[in-house]
Every structure is written in structure tokens, then in C-alpha cells.
Amino acid sequence: MTRIAIDPLTRVEGHGKVTLQLDEENRVIEARLHIVEFRGFEKFVQGRPYWEVPVLVERLCGICPVSHHLASAKAIDRIMGVEMLTPTAEKLRRLLHFGQVLQSHALHFFHLSSPDLLFGFDSEVQQRNIAGLLKAYPDLALKGVRLRKYGQEVIQFLMGKRIHGTGAVPGGMNKALSIDERDRLMKDIDDIIEWADDAVDLARDIFLSDRSYLDFAGLSSSFLSIVGEGGLHELYDGRLRCTNAMGEFDFDGVADSRYSEYIREEVKSWSYMKFPYIVEGKGMYRVGPLARINNCDRMASPLAESRRKEFASIGRPVHATLAYHWARMIELLHCAESMRDLLHDPDIIGEDLRVETSMGREGVGVIEAPRGTLIHHYRIDDEGLVEMANLIVSTTHNNRAMNEAILSVAKHHIDGRQEITEGMLNRIEVAIRAFDPCLSCATHAVGKMPLKVDILDHRGERLCVLES
């Protein structure tokens, strides 16, 4: 047997490695995505006061801190008996989260994934990065940078900083959006929508340009997300919907506080990332843009809705791993359109930011983070200190699916080959990247970024290591 290891993985958020176990005829018998960062937040949040938690847990991640901040704030709201925020506070939180998803999606597509898609999986490794993109496609790369910048500006206006600021407090927000800030955001929003619309074209055209992309890293699974009233696409608040591989409901309309009745987590000795599954049937499922676009029945923003229909016309649900990119860009457009609508809403510059609270004991907050459904669950004691925390992070939901995708690629592209090239191994990373995993989020870790691939022979000895 031979074992191949990709270690470290590159152009993903976090640190991990892949091992491929080959038999004596170089056939892939097992593929594993190892997450080697250590999980700690659920433990060290214990004993901290409840109002500190949204600011503490946003340090889980430098890419989607706002999603952690808001999921946590929603859980704390529940603990504090908040039934409904003021219209201004709710709209500010939504605007904030659209900014978060927009910047994260732009970062992922333009900085991390588009080099694979535009240059090809076998292209020169030195070219497959944002610097290569800036050289070969300067207009496109700059649009990507500016899209991300815009999302970061929204975050800065509402949280005081682009990364790790403060904004949501129990029962509302700590700061209004000034008229000047609103006007500055309005000035560029039409460009943002136009560029996001172009990005949908690009992602769609790439996906449809090669028939092999339909089957690349192919797998079939259920899809989990929250949806709003009438199946509306939702990122901030809604009820849990899970559809099976045929597009039928596994469950629907489930209050997010009941997540633990439908989802369980399994532990494996070789990874710090848990393996969640649907309780009924122990089924694998996926979350994130592909799940949300598959699951929803409509989107509130008109351009994105027309793009969703176009997407759904190739099948519903769409299972292709690389369709994640297309779905992600549809969401990018949806965020941009939704931000425009919110900026024109008079409530957005309101001053009524908080409602009264009264202390309870337990709360669950669920939000759709850029990478998928994010669950924060806390219980506090009589003194207001956290005694239990459970976080199920977007990337964790996709753990099984990512392992399946890796196995699929490995069987298709590496199985039985005498020589293993960098391009073959990059295909494994391409499959993982499609999910936009955040490995530091998934393990709530402090650590470095890249991922490594290890290849071991049939005697268990390392044949080669690929790392960046």
C-alpha cells in the first residue's frame, strides 16, 4: 500500500492535510481530510460572562468573525428573552451580515478559487494565485479586491473595525449608521451590483464550459440550510430545512433551537473536526451556498432570483461540487442587491437600537455564515456565566462531504497511476476549495493556514509529501 499526503492544503482558510492510502497496484482505498488544528473555544468560553461571548467568539476567525458574532448575539438574545429586535437593529444586523458574506464570497472566488478555474487545474503552480490573476486578468482581479473592500467597509461602519470590532449587544446594536456613512455606501453600491452580476456570468460560464465539471468530485447528499417564510433564501434568520438527494424534504420548518434533535456529531480519532450527520438515517449532508440555493424556493432580490432560476434549470438539487462557485456568486449578487435595498430603507439610519432584556438560562443562535449553517448554543448559570457552549460551524457540517469529494477525485484522477503529478493533487485541493472550508473555524483554532498531502506506500512508509 502507498499513502499520499497533501500537507499543507493551500488557498483554504486554516490548516489541514489529506492522506490517500493506495494498495500495491496504486489503487486508492481510502482518502481522509485531517484537520490538525486544536479546538478550544467551547471550553474556554465557559466561565465567561454572557455579554462578553459575542466579542470573544468572533476571534474564532478572521474571515467570518461577523457571522460568529451575530450567531452568538442571537443566542444571547434568546437567553435574554428578546423576542424581537427594533426594526433598525434587525436591519443593521442584516446589513452587517450581507457585508460579511459579500466580502467572504468575493475573497473566496477571486483570491482563492478563480486561479484554478481560469488558468486550469494543471497550470503552473506559481501562477495559480491572486498575484497571477492580477497579472493575467487585472480588471477582474481588481473588481474582486474592490468587492471585498466594499463588504469590509460595511463591517467597519457598523462594528468600528474591519475585523474583530463590536456591534451586536444583547437586545440590539451599539451604534447607529450615520447619514454620512449611509451615503458613502450608497455611492458605490450600483457598481458593486454590476460587478457581482458579472461574477455570476463568469462562474456560470466556467462551470458550463466543460462537461466534466458536472461530475468532478461528484457526490450526492442531503442539503441543510435555514430558509425564511415561504422558502425564502435567508442568511440571517429562519427555520431549518433539509432536503434529500432527490430534493424531497428530510425535514422542514424546524425551529433552529431544536437543531440537536435532527443533527448529531460523531468523533474520529484522526481529525479534530467532528463529523455531523442527520439523525434519521445517519445521513451525510452539505451546507453553504450550494445548499442554500438548492433549498430555497425564491430569493428576495430580483437579479439574484433570475439567476437562481437559471441555476435551478440545470437540475434541482444540483449536486456538482464545482457548482458551489456558481451558487456562491449568485449569493454575492443577492448580498449586493439586498444591501442596496437596506441602504434605501429609512429604518437603517434610525436611532432606536435596543430592547429591554431579562436574564434566562439557555439560547441557540443559528445564522447562515458564508460557508453554511452556523450554530451557537449556550447555557448560563444563575450568575450569568457560561456553563455550556456548543458550536457547530459551517465547515464541520461539510466534513463528511469533503471526505467523499476527495475520495471521488482520488479514485478518478489518481487511481492506478504510476506517476502522481502536482496537477493531480491540485484537483483534490480544487475539490476541497469548492466548499470554501475554514479549518480554523471548524476547530476554533489558533494556527497557520496551509494544508499538506502525504502519500504512504502499502507498507505504511511515506512515499512523498507535497506542501507549500
Binding site: 460572562p49 468600528g160 473595525k161 463590536t166 456591534g167 444583547p170 451599539n174 450569568g384
Partner: protein
């Protein structure tokens, strides 16, 4: 008019004023943590150490005298203050990123002003219990720097005696005046000055954190 010389500047003073008092009045502040105008000088943090006529002394406790030559912003003293701040950080558990006092914390502000980029020394990671027993007030002992401002405020302003500093050296602790040792069994009230005078995030009003947005905090 009586004057002292502070880093070459002539500063007026009145009888009864300390070096710190007249420096603050003349808008020539000397770094400090345990001092607060209106409170009895305590001299515990030593951050305001200056050289007076060639000898080290804490500016907050030293009465001003005619013709004093006071050095404060010298490389020697700045280096000494940096060392004191680093020691204050490592002997407690100070995690600024999630601390609600961040941006309004005098310890953090002093560290920024001193150009402190890292703690330099190995952290002690002391084990200190949090006291969340009171329904309105929290004591996060991890952050206490033993400045005794709460002790003085409770005694001299609130007319109570809720707090004191107990123990010596590494065993030094903020203690409260109740048989159980818990804040809930003292006569403290959330309106007391002692609750609001803490320069760091050790004594907090429950449920109020992060209400002041970034950009509007005390030291933003």
C-alpha cells in the same frame, strides 16, 4: 508664584499639591494608573516614578517644593515604565481582544503610550476566581492590578468599606468585606463610586459590556 521644573518646563504649584497634581494642572501629564485626582495618593503602581533632584520618587505621592528639578520623559524612565507595564500584564490575565474595557482601559492606554508591543516576560497565568455572586456587579479578578482605587472610593466616597487588598507578593488579592468572601454579601450597590472607578476591567456592571461603540471609547 512657586514653581518646579518638569523636563525643562517651569510648572506652577500651590502648597499641598503633589508633583503629579501640578503636572496634570499644567497639562504635562506623567503616566499613572493608581492615581486619580480627588483620591488619596496611594503610590502602588510606581508607573509615575520620576527623578527628583536625581533621586527616584513617585510623582503622585511627592509634595511639590520650590525649585524641584523633575525628570519624567527620559529614556531611562520610559524604559522603566515599559518594564513596569510588562510586569503588570504578565502577573495578571489580561486578554484585551475580548475585554469590554478595551479602548477605555487605562492599563491598555498606558501600554500603547509606552510603545509596548509584547509582554516580554513569561506570563504567570495566575489562577484567580471570578466573583459573579452579586446580581448587578462582577469582579473579574484576572484583570485586577491592585491599584486600590476601589478601596479608596468605597472608604472615602461611598462611606463603606467593601474592598481591601490582602496578602503579599504573588498572593496579593482584592478581597471584599463579607464573611462569605462574596460580593453579594457586602453592602455594595451598583451606584457606588467604587463600582465605576476601576481603571481596568476588574469591576464591571453586569450586562453592560460593549455598549460604547469603537470610535467613541475613552481612548479611541
Amino acid at each position: 508664584m512657586k514653581t518646579i521644573h518638569l523636563d525643562g518646563h517651569e510648572i506652577p504649584f500651590e502648597d499641598g499639591q503633589t508633583v503629579m497634581d501640578c503636572a496634570l494642572a499644567a497639562d504635562k501629564p506623567i503616566a499613572h494608573l493608581c492615581h486619580l485626582p480627588g483620591y488619596t495618593p496611594y503610590g502602588s503602581c510606581r508607573l509615575c516614578t520620576v527623578k527628583i533632584d536625581g533621586r527616584f520618587s513617585s510623582a503622585c505621592t511627592q509634595p511639590a517644593r520650590e525649585g524641584m528639578q523633575v525628570e519624567s520623559e527620559t529614556e531611562e524612565l520610559k524604559e522603566m515604565r515599559l518594564g513596569i507595564l510588562r510586569m503588570l500584564f504578565v502577573e495578571g490575565n489580561h486578554y484585551c481582544p475580548s475585554c469590554e474595557k478595551s479602548g477605555s482601559c487605562r492599563l491598555q492606554h498606558a501600554a500603547y503610550n509606552a510603545g509596548m508591543l509584547d509582554p516580554h516576560y513569561r506570563p504567570f497565568y495566575p489562577k484567580r476566581e471570578m466573583d459573579a455572586s452579586h446580581p448587578d456587579i462582577l469582579i473579574d479578578n484576572d484583570r485586577c492590578i491592585f491599584c486600590a482605587l476601589c478601596v479608596r472610593a468605597s472608604r472615602d466616597v461611598d462611606g463603606k468599606a467593601v474592598f481591601d487588598i490582602s496578602g503579599r507578593g504573588l498572593a496579593t488579592r482584592l478581597v471584599v468585606n463579607s464573611k462569605s468572601g462574596l460580593l453579594v454579601d457586602t453592602d455594595i450597590s451598583v451606584e457606588d463610586k467604587a463600582v465605576h472607578v476601576c481603571p481596568v476591567g476588574a469591576i464591571l456592571v453586569k450586562g453592560r459590556g460593549f455598549e460604547v461603540p469603537i470610535g467613541m471609547r475613552l481612548y479611541d
